[in-house]
Subunit: 142 residues, 2 copies
């Protein structure tokens, strides 16, 4: 059973339930010691697995995998897909809630990564400041 | 600053973040001893208070009030508003996730209440069964 997803629905659903996340993880094998991992994710109850696949088809990218409990996530981690699919979509179709601010930060980090700025200590520090921003724990989807 | 809300955006946002809830509370003053309280709610971080007012204007009903922590809710509890605004809107513009099932249950309870069935022990028991349905705790917005 396939549902047609309208652009505005996808924007609304992302405003309500999407997550633009940038992890900065320790990574001893990297020269700078840290790895920057941007991710666009939507986490849903397993009842809604079909919707995750619809969204995957809509964006033309991402991987659907289980997360803790009864939930599954559509995750887009490929930088190429983030740059070519996710960023252009939400740049053209503006988020209406303050999740739009998360998106702007996310895009800023990805653009810095395109310029390889995450590989220098100054760039990494700037990314950390962008990512940390104001704390809003209840935004977290997991 | 006002944002125009498109119908599909509101449906997507509700699929992602809306809540159709029916509380059954003890109420000694009522003959049957219980009160049935259906509620449509959207809970957001206080940064998004403007959006709650936009949604209130969109639906033409509801009350915006603080909930615990840094959050606020738009709540529609008036049965008249639920029957005249919320139910017809989501009956016409179908939710796409399994939140649509929550909505169908919610509507079923409201229709029973219109027929005053919540005031009889049999009706109340039926409502309780409809409301309890399969347990999906991660759906809760609070």
């Amino acid at each position: 059973m396939s549902v047609k997803l309208e652009t505005h629905w996808v924007v609304g659903f992302t405003d309500g339930h999407g997550c633009f996340h940038v992890a900065i993880n320790r990574h001893p094998k990297m020269k700078i010691g840290y790895q920057v991992l941007p991710e666009f994710a939507i986490v849903l109850h397993k009842d809604d697995i079909q919707m995750l696949h619809e969204l995957k088809a809509f964006f033309g990218c991402g991987v659907v995998r289980p997360v803790q409990g009864d939930r599954l996530a559509l995750r887009v981690r490929s930088r190429r897909h983030l740059m070519r699919r996710i960023i252009p979509f939400f740049a053209q179709h503006k988020l209406k809630t303050s999740k739009g601010i998360d998106f702007i930060r996310f895009r800023k980090v990805l653009h810095m990564m395109e310029r390889r700025e995450h590989l220098s200590p100054t760039g990494l520090e700037t990314i950390r400041r962008i990512v940390e921003g104001p704390v809003r724990p209840e935004r977290s989807e997991e």
